[in-house]
């Protein structure tokens, strides 16, 4: 997937990679950040999407 981005939780540094997704959370590989459900919570610390920042890759 081109232009795949990485997002990181500001609280616990959990990394969400658009290319990898999180299959065990029901988010298939290749899911763009904007398509991750709004009520999704960080699997490590339960912060919401607002608490993630995009990282340069």
């Amino acid at each position: 997937m081109s232009n795949s981005k990485i997002w990181q939780c500001l609280t616990c540094e959990f990394v969400y990679s658009e290319a990898a997704g999180i299959p065990e959370e029901g988010i298939p590989p290749g899911t763009a950040w904007q398509d991750v459900p709004e009520d999704w919570l960080c699997p490590d610390c339960a912060m919401g999407k607002d608490d993630f920042d995009m990282q340069e890759v």
Binding site: T11, C12, E24, E25, G26, D44, G48
Partner: protein, 389 residues
Amino acid sequence: MGYSMKPILIIGAGHAGLSLAREIRALDKAMPITIVSQDPIQAYYKPNLSKALSMNKSADQLIMKQLEALKNDLDAELLENTSVLKINHEEKSILCQAKSTDKNEQETFELPYENLILATGASPIEMPIKGASGNVVSVNTLQDYTQFRKMIKDKKQILIIGAGFVGCEFASDLSSSDYQVSVVDRAAWPLEQVIPEQMGTEIKHAISKNGVKWHFQSTVDEIVKNNQGELKAHLSNGVIILPDVIISAIGLSPNIKLAKVIGLLAGRGIVVDEYSRTSRHAIYALGDCVEYDGQPLPFIAPATLAAKALAKTLTGNKTKLVLPPQPVGVKITDYPTLICPPRIKEGSWQVNGVDQDLEAAFFNNKKELCGFALSGQRISLKGEYLSRY
């Protein structure tokens, strides 16, 4: 919408206190917030304390935000190094004292509140071992960790007492950074209270690869320090260990002293209802200092969820706290493990899988899933397990 001048007053600036302030600020730009903390106020992720060596980070590098940045982000008044001596719940104020070596600055002062939130955390359980006092360290705050890193510098032998989440992570972290680690626990396998023996055995082997020596079903009988300052630990299994540093990782006890003085209902932790309310008007509590259904839940996610719900309630949108089953990752080098601790004791484990790739489900007597643990490749089954609740 107008506000009285009295703030939301939060005691404690750990994950619970800071998250609550952040969530309130996200919902309300104007509500005054004050945070009082007996420690320096810095944002850091506490679970990283037992992982920092593997992350190649110093204690300072774990700090995510310093005081000034937090003041700015939260638009709150932050009083660090300030002890709370007393809560005057009838007048709705607290009595504080700044920690200072300067006598003139040691005077006490009062802070009024509209709503008071106790986010006082939990402290290491004191070790009932002969000779432990002064010779055993606990790592529960960033300040503790800074001291700890100084202590282990150029040292080799570390003894960890306790093989729970923190003890196992420290054993893994220290041993993969070339420390010689011994672990003592009265249990029969690591994390005995939350995983079955088969998985415990795999964890034991995984951590042993870096030379960790385990002493299960054993306790430390006595710790002796000689004139040269060298430590000697006598174990109940007859083994004698000569550690440079001894870490206590036997667990935490909620900080409920302030709450008890004013008669707040408390068991092991402060008792709260589904709105995080304590037994007194305008006083709430969340994080490691509370208990839910009689149980403290000293993990990050419950504190985050409590902060989110309470922020809504305090800003006028009364919201119940819902705590879904929440798996916790255990950071062990080369052995990914995810544990959703059973919230009950009565029941039995069912284990499937081979070698490192295990799935363990804990069922109560009615055959309902009450907890699980996944390791290795089976971690990918997390979503499936959660949907079975």
